[in-house]
């Protein structure tokens, strides 16, 4: 996540965030409805794979940010001035 925010992420990083989230909470994660994005609300509760409730709660803000404000993240990836961190590693 900080990689994306620092402008060093790739589109795969966003997918990975969602996928790791899906390992924590299988299935659709609950979120509010959004007319602009044409999303219907997914009701609570979430399903969880973890032993501890902190896992899904930690994922909750990540998920809503990624689902409801997707363009913001994509903008950080597409319109950036830095190179992706993987490429930095390779270049060194």
């Amino acid at each position: 996540m900080s990689r994306v925010v620092d402008g060093k992420g790739t589109a795969a990083d966003l997918e990975q965030l969602i996928e790791v989230g899906t390992s924590i909470c299988p299935g659709d994660f609950p979120h509010a409805s959004n007319e602009k994005l044409g999303l219907a609300a997914v009701p609570f509760p979430y399903k969880m794979n973890t032993i501890c409730f902190v896992g899904p709660s930690a994922y909750a803000p990540v998920n809503s940010a990624l689902v409801l404000f997707r363009e913001e993240f994509e903008a950080r990836i597409v319109k950036r001035h830095t190179i992706p961190v993987t490429a930095v590693g390779a270049a060194l």
């Binding site: 790791v20 899906t22 390992s23 299988p26 399903k47 794979n49 961190v85 590693g89």
Partner: protein, 493 residues
């Protein structure tokens, strides 16, 4: 057509605990209270697991065993090591969702795992390695720096801990706490910093520490004597019995290039449940001791001189023949040991017979008379399932450690009540229902007093009673122990 035989319908009473469930479409018979993972093991549907161990309580730490169970709100993901079976339950272990969850877990477990398999002792017999191949995603997307710890740190004289490899499955700590009863290792810190730790100034000095090395599903715990000695696929394995004490645990002897490298416990239901004590597990090191006698030796002029078997045997034979010729067979005696095998004992007894030697003697390890064989004998399993266990024995934790583990388990699970008669505190005193201490030599009166106590008498009357007999102290005359046994038997036959 005449039927002479009446058609009798034998009614087989239905087991009230039997249930039928379905695993991956197969119908499976199970028992109430059984865990899904155990039922799936029987039906041949292997569910990957790290923390589940059939001899310990389930904790659901690793989440590797997630499966899909049909529930009221559609398929649910549940941990099969914590969920018990139910009538008509529908379990699927191979769906897309299950696969994704299991791959996700393996990927997360490996995110901080050093992947140093080539130099890891566990490589080749490592559940993490195996299941990363069978149930893992095949590649990792984590490109960040991994977590680093100092590797390895000794947590006792025998066991070393590599916290980078640890997957926090809770097996070792559960073992120390539940099975061995000395919880000297525990998790400390939280979240990403969780790690196994001993108390700051107390090592993991458990009599059973070697078992944690065996059950660790990764190479985080390694045993000093085996480190970097061999690779598991090079080991020649032979199943055998441990000879260190009279419990006789099942073990495998594992050797490579003619060198004994380690003993591993084998799960044998009537004896050791897979556990070994450190005394038994690590005593193979004495095989390599330079104090071992490797050649037959013959004393000549007061000095022992190494020679060959044929020379040694023929000189022994001629000495015995000479003695029999001079003084007759009654001038020769044979002393057998308590530690030989039955075959050994049979062989020397045959030898004595054929030579006409009647002066033979052998005794129990702790010198109790052989008349003990005259009493009804209990197996270890019977002792661990008896309602009452009377201990007239030395400290079992010191002398027969695995019997201690079994009896401790029986008392912790409230199956048995232990009553011990001891001259001093023992490892089992904490778990004993009654612990009566006596002054050496005075046990008979203490036993009579304790056993006639109404509460104790009521307990004894409740069911099976097993008596564990041994000499509490080798300096004490065995007649005291026998008198104590007689006193017990007089009251609780």
């Amino acid at each position: 057509m005449t039927t002479t035989e009446p058609n009798i319908e034998v009614e087989i009473p239905l087991d009230p605990n039997a249930i039928t469930m379905s695993i991956n479409g197969k119908s499976v018979a199970a028992r109430k209270g059984e865990l899904i993972i155990a039922a799936a093991d029987r039906s041949g549907d292997y569910i990957p697991r790290f923390c589940y161990h059939p001899r310990m309580s389930s904790v659901g730490m690793c989440r590797q065993c997630l499966v899909e169970v049909e529930g009221p709100r559609g398929p649910m993901m549940v941990v099969s090591c914590m969920t018990s079976v139910g009538e008509g339950q529908i379990v699927r272990t191979e769906t897309e969702q299950v696969k994704r969850a299991q791959e996700g877990i393996v990927e997360l477990l490996l995110a901080n795992h050093p992947l140093d398999c080539p130099v890891c002792d566990k490589g080749g017999e490592c559940p993490l390695q195996d299941q990363a191949f069978s149930h893992g995603p095949g590649e990792s997307r984590f490109i960040e720096e991994k977590r680093h710890y100092e590797k390895p740190i000794p947590i006792s004289d025998l066991v070393l801990l590599d916290r980078e490899r640890c997957i926090l499955c809770d097996r070792c700590t559960r073992f120390a706490d539940e099975v061995a009863g000395d919880a000297l290792i525990q998790f400390t810190s939280r979240g990403n910093n969780t790690q196994i730790q001993t108390f700051p100034d107390e090592p993991f000095s458990s009599y059973f520490s070697g078992n944690t090395v065996q059950i660790c599903p990764v190479g985080a715990l390694t045993a000093q004597p085996y480190r970097f000695k061999a690779r598991p696929w090079d080991l020649a394995k032979i199943e055998s019995t441990c000879t260190t004490c009279s419990v006789g645990c099942r073990i495998t002897l594992e050797s490579s290039r003619d060198e004994m490298l380690r003993y591993q416990g084998v799960d044998s239901d009537p004896v050791n449940h897979g556990w070994l004590c450190d005394k038994g597990r690590f005593n193979f090191e004495s095989i390599k001791s330079n104090q071992r006698i490797e050649n037959p030796m013959v004393r000549s002029d007061g000095d022992l001189v190494a020679t060959s078997w044929s020379v040694a045997l023929s000189s022994a034979a001629s000495l015995i023949a000479q003695a029999i010729k001079d003084g007759g067979p009654q001038s020769v005696a044979i002393l057998g040991g308590a530690r030989g095998t039955n075959e050994d004992a049979y062989a020397w007894a045959r030898l004595a017979q054929s030579l006409g030697i009647s002066n033979v003697d052998a005794q129990f390890d702790d010198g109790l008379p052989t008349s003990l064989f005259g009493y009804a004998q209990a197996t270890i399993d019977e002792a661990a399932h008896a309602t009452t266990v009377l201990l007239l024995s030395p400290d079992l934790k010191e002398e027969l450690p695995i019997l201690y583990v079994r009896l401790r388990d029986a008392s912790e699970k409230k199956r048995s009540k232990l009553i011990e008669f001891v001259p001093k505190q023992t490892g089992l005193t904490r778990y004993a229902w009654k612990s009566a201490s006596y002054e050496p030599g005075r046990q008979v009166s203490v036993i009579q007093q304790t056993l006639t106590d109404p509460a104790v008498a009521a307990q004894i009357a409740q069911g099976s009673v097993v008596v564990v007999v041994g000499r509490a102290n080798l300096a004490e005359n065995d007649s005291f122990t026998m008198a104590a046994l007689d006193a017990v038997l007089a009251i609780a036959p």
